[in-house]
């Protein structure tokens, strides 16, 4: 077996590191359990942190055994990915930036290196150097794996959030008999404006609406594409017999629309209340203040 010292022959550096990890498993785990990364994530008991550390040490030993110390895709790492992701996520929740998490991961290296140095005190200096280089590379790869895991978590999170945003899109609210309103919020890119148009047209049919109010108070920017989407929605609703009112046009937006040279060929009102008032008036329903009527 090449990894054993036989006839004064030294094991390869990575196998030396593997044997060292097996031999010193308990001590390394004890030291790591005191490092912030393990101590603050595994808070139930110190033993829990020690056990978690041992899992990582075993994974490193397995990677060293396969001589793939530079390969983040090495089979040995697959067992700890989930745990690393959990640890990274816990540290992020505690308010640490990615850089801070990375430096906490880096802090795992010195204790192991010191142990290795004291273990190989009697070995030839060049062998010690080769072994500690192998260990450094291995720990660097562990860090890379942890950061990769964190990144893919981020990617999954942002994909989920994008889908959620699509859903948030547009509730259609019935304000009165025959009057529906859609509060538009955020960016009206083409995918979302398609959703807006569909939900609004369905509501027009379902509620027998004669007036549909599109409120753009929550739309930060009205450029020509947003205006075009609005006008298409208005035209489609008109074909179905509903009149559209665009409300919530703020002063800055109004001036911008004028400078852009857009002609919004639709009834507009400054606020949703004004739009509702207009629709009710057109329906022949006027709001009367009874107190004022008596006087």
């Amino acid at each position: 077996m090449p990894e054993h010292e036989a006839d004064g022959q030294l094991a390869t550096p990575t196998h030396e590191v593997r044997d060292f990890l097996h031999r010193r498993r308990e001590q390394i785990a004890q030291r790591w359990a005191d490092e912030p990364l393990f101590r603050t994530v595994f808070t139930v008991s110190r033993d829990e942190a020690v056990e978690a550390s041992k899992v990582v040490v075993d994974a490193l030993a397995q990677v060293a055994d396969s001589e793939q110390v530079e390969d983040p895709d090495a089979a040995g790492f697959s067992g700890v990915r989930e745990q690393l992701a959990r640890m990274g996520a816990a540290r992020s929740r505690a308010g640490l930036s990615n850089t801070q998490v990375a430096s906490e991961l880096a802090a795992l290296r010195p204790p192991v290196e010191n142990l290795l140095a004291s273990d190989l005190e009697d070995a030839p200096p060049e062998h010690l150097r080769a072994c500690s280089t192998a260990l450094t590379v291995l720990m660097g790869t562990l860090r890379l794996v942890a950061m990769q895991t964190a990144l893919s978590e981020w990617q999954a999170l942002s994909d989920r959030q994008r889908l959620q945003l699509m859903e948030v899109a547009t509730p259609v609210i019935r304000l009165w008999d025959g009057v529906v309103a859609v509060p538009l919020i955020g960016t009206l890119d083409s995918a979302r404006s398609q959703v807006v148009m569909e939900t609004l047209l369905n509501a027009v049919v379902d509620q027998h609406a004669r007036f549909a109010i599109l409120d753009i108070t929550g739309v930060p920017t009205v450029d020509s594409l947003v205006a075009q989407h609005l006008m298409k929605t208005v035209a489609a609703a008109r074909l179905m017999g509903a009149q559209c009112i665009v409300s919530g046009i703020r002063p800055a937006i109004a001036q911008t629309i004028v400078h852009l040279g857009l002609d919004l060929d639709v009834i507009t009102r400054a606020s949703l209340a004004d739009a509702l008032g207009y629709a009710l008036h057109e329906l022949g329903t006027d709001i009367v203040n009874p107190g004022a009527g008596q006087r």
């Binding site: 890119d189 930060p220 920017t221 594409l225 205006a227 075009q228 001036q255 911008t256 400078h259 040279g261």
Partner: protein, 146 residues
Amino acid sequence: MHTAAGVEACLPIRSDMDLVWVRQHVRQAAARLGFGLVEQTKLVTAASELARNTLVHGGGGQMEATHLSSGGAQGLRLAFTDEGPGIADLDQALSDGYTSGDGLGMGLSGARRLVHDFDIESTPGDGTTVRVTCWVAQPPRPREEA
């Protein structure tokens, strides 16, 4: 003569998501420089139009934001660059209602009306660069003579 106080940021324009980021960045940069709400909205809208042109007609590119300072006045210059097919007839492209796609044809000409300085360079086959500048409103407002 105004001096460039440094390039603030260079943002890629490769997807619809990047347009959102461009708008937010311009809004924040303009607010930091002390633009009023109306000027902010105008500049953000112009940036939105131009960035979309860069994406749709230029096939993607980038926006460079530069903080300008002239005398006591603060300004923001945005440069949109693409390496797309370019524009053969600039006068036609800048006229209201002309569109090569299915838009309203108000983007480029509208953006010009929304900013203080507007400058476009285009070489067919090589790409297009549009530079727009807005100054924080404070009398007297410096304007570059063309």
